[in-house]
Amino acid sequence: MPAASAERRVSRESIAVSVRDVGMAFGDVHAVRNASFDLPKGKFLTILGPSGSGKTTLLRMIAGFDAPTSGEIFINNSPVSAVPPHRRAIGMVFQKLALFPHMTAAENVAFPLKMRRHDARAIPEKVERYLQLVRLGGYGGRRINELSGGQQQRVAIARALVFEPDLLLLDEPLAALDRKLREEMQLEFRRIQKELGVTTINVTHDQREALVVSDEVIVMEGGRIQQKAEPVHAYRSPANTFVANFIGVTNFIEGVVAARDGALVSVAAHGRTLTGVAVGDAPATGGACAGAVRAEQIRIAPRADALDRLDTVLAGTVADAIFEGERIVYEVRVPHLGDQLVRVFDHDPVNHLQFSPGDSVCLGWNARDMHVFKK
């Protein structure tokens, strides 16, 4: 089977980072447990997770600042646990940027080139080229404290990229920026990453950022990788209730499995039977389960007849209407679900703010939009 092995070798060579069963324990705190993933060259991976889920710890191990207590990390297919950070070709942008305050922007960008003994004559030209890449051409002479937050951010990016690292690590470098600038910088990251084709691992707890910039997303919680998938996939088919809850706004309906029919599951909840699709480890009949429906997949209407093409229709009362600019969020109390509050997005461009608290409404969704997880 020479063809197959050749193919496997090619695919192996295209892997930039491979994390194998990596764990990290600080005393009896397990910051990361059994993390494994492969990242192909040139891809943009985002690690998404709540505070304290082990994102920074994982990133620091890849950068070489901390040694894993178990497992091994491979960069370009060689194990790196014995390689100190300064011998790894990794550019890192820190959460607090870590720019050198006693140097100018240009000196900061030139620092890795000097330390890595690049040809001294080529350094100024290269520094200017990378400053231009991050749209800071001509700002080289400024001291760090003479630059705005966003400009400092870009100096840090130029500094991490200028020595053409195999891998770029970003530890929530956008967290401190205001929303508008953050969104601009997210697109900027994407542009630069595409332009240079550098493999990138980005850490964030901003789910929007993860979805916008990434080729792949890893969702972490409690030190464990919960799911690794393309953004669309992670959003559309979350692997478990944690991911479903963490990305997007999701309503959970708890109940027991009443019947199974292939992928379709009937869920008995509060005396009603709702139909959804099973996810992952299919729950057995009679087992506790949770049906997850995203807020934007629920239609809202004044009467049930407007929703008659949907599989599940429930009546309720509007408890609150929250104006968020581009959309309205209705919180609807549903008596048939034990007075549970269900959140619904309404983008209706015609009937703006059509309901107010106290109005009777009907909610409806398709069976394929309710994911049923084992509890």
Binding site: P85, H86, G91, M92, F111, M115, A160
Partner: protein, 314 residues
């Protein structure tokens, strides 16, 4: 009504009362003078010091009449001439200046790793041990410590006994220049560490991690990141050590055994041995002048801003 009273804590009411009293004593329109008022005690203290300096200046311009042991009525520069021409004073001054520079350099070299380890170690047990070891000498005092060295370094001391065990004949370890410098370094080390530690704490550890990920080994990180950022602390610690050792009295007196006098010892001799107040005052003023010159020079070389006294650097 009662309820709102209860919600207003007693401490707040006390504060209100104090504020009202303060407003009586110091109406709001005087507010701009308040900083100066708070400055007054310090200015007063410095003022007294200046008065003393004037008095000393006056004494320095009179010579001692060796027949009557009285100070002359007329002003003369004879003391200054003697101080600047007699080789004894030049030797003492040279010894003190050279000594304080050597002590400063060695102390800073020794204090830096100590302070660095203390600030950066992840183990709080080690940090506590280092801190206690740092403060312990302060409880012992300079003179007692110098006597301790007499015991340890004496001809029958621990060091010579240990050397004897390996067959080295007893050596004279005391009453020479190296002994004085050794004693001074040992005395200055805690001061230098205490001055350096805050400066090193102010350098985020992330900067060092960043430097290493950018390709700098520990030497590169130290030279290009830690050292330049620690400069304010180094300058401050250096100034403290250089002035304290230049003006030190006890260590040269005890560990030098009279043969290794520093300027302060010479001044003491003039005041209390030969009772030549004029000469003593002259030497004191010259010491003040040399010390100020040194500090001025450091400021000129590194800029007063390096002491991190200007708010501009962050």
């Amino acid at each position: 009504m009662r309820k709102s009273r209860a919600a207003y804590p007693l401490t707040w009411r006390v504060m209100d009362m104090l504020e009202a009293i303060a407003a009586r004593l110091w109406p709001a329109r005087f507010a701009r003078a308040l900083p100066y008022l708070m400055l007054a005690p310090a200015v007063l203290l410095v003022g007294i010091l200046v008065l003393g300096l004037v008095q000393i200046g006056d004494s320095s311009l009179r010579v001692l009449d060796t027949s009557t042991f009285l100070m002359s009525e007329d002003y003369t520069l004879a003391n200054y001439q003697r101080a600047l021409t007699e080789s004894f004073f030049a030797t003492v001054a040279g010894r003190s200046l050279l000594g304080s520079v050597i002590v400063t350099v060695i102390t800073l070299i020794l204090a830096f790793p100590y302070a660095y380890l203390m600030v950066r170690t992840p183990s709080s047990a080690l940090r506590n041990v280092l801190l206690v070891a740092l403060f312990l000498p302060f409880f012992i005092g300079q003179v007692v410590r110098a006597y301790g060295w007499l015991i340890i370094l004496g001809n029958q001391g621990m060091v010579n006994e240990a050397l004897g065990l390996v067959g080295v004949p007893p050596m004279r370890l005391l009453y020479n220049y190296p002994a004085v410098l050794f004693g001074l370094i040992q005395y200055m080390l805690p001061f230098a560490v205490l001055m350096l530690a805050p400066a090193l704490t102010a350098i985020p550890a992330e900067l060092e991690a960043a430097a290493s990920s950018l390709g700098a080994n520990w030497l590169g990180t130290f030279r290009h990141v830690v050292l330049p950022l620690a400069r304010p602390g180094l300058v401050g610690a250096g100034l403290v050590v250089v002035t304290l050792s230049l003006t030190d009295f006890a260590i040269p007196a005890i560990l030098g055994g009279g043969s290794q006098d520093f300027i302060a010892n010479a001044i003491y001799d003039q005041f209390f041995r030969t009772s030549d107040q004029g000469m003593g005052a002259t030497l004191s003023l010259l010491l003040v002048a040399v010390g100020s010159l040194l500090v001025g020079l450091v400021f000129m070389l590194f800029g007063a801003g390096t002491l991190a006294m200007t708010g501009e650097r962050k």
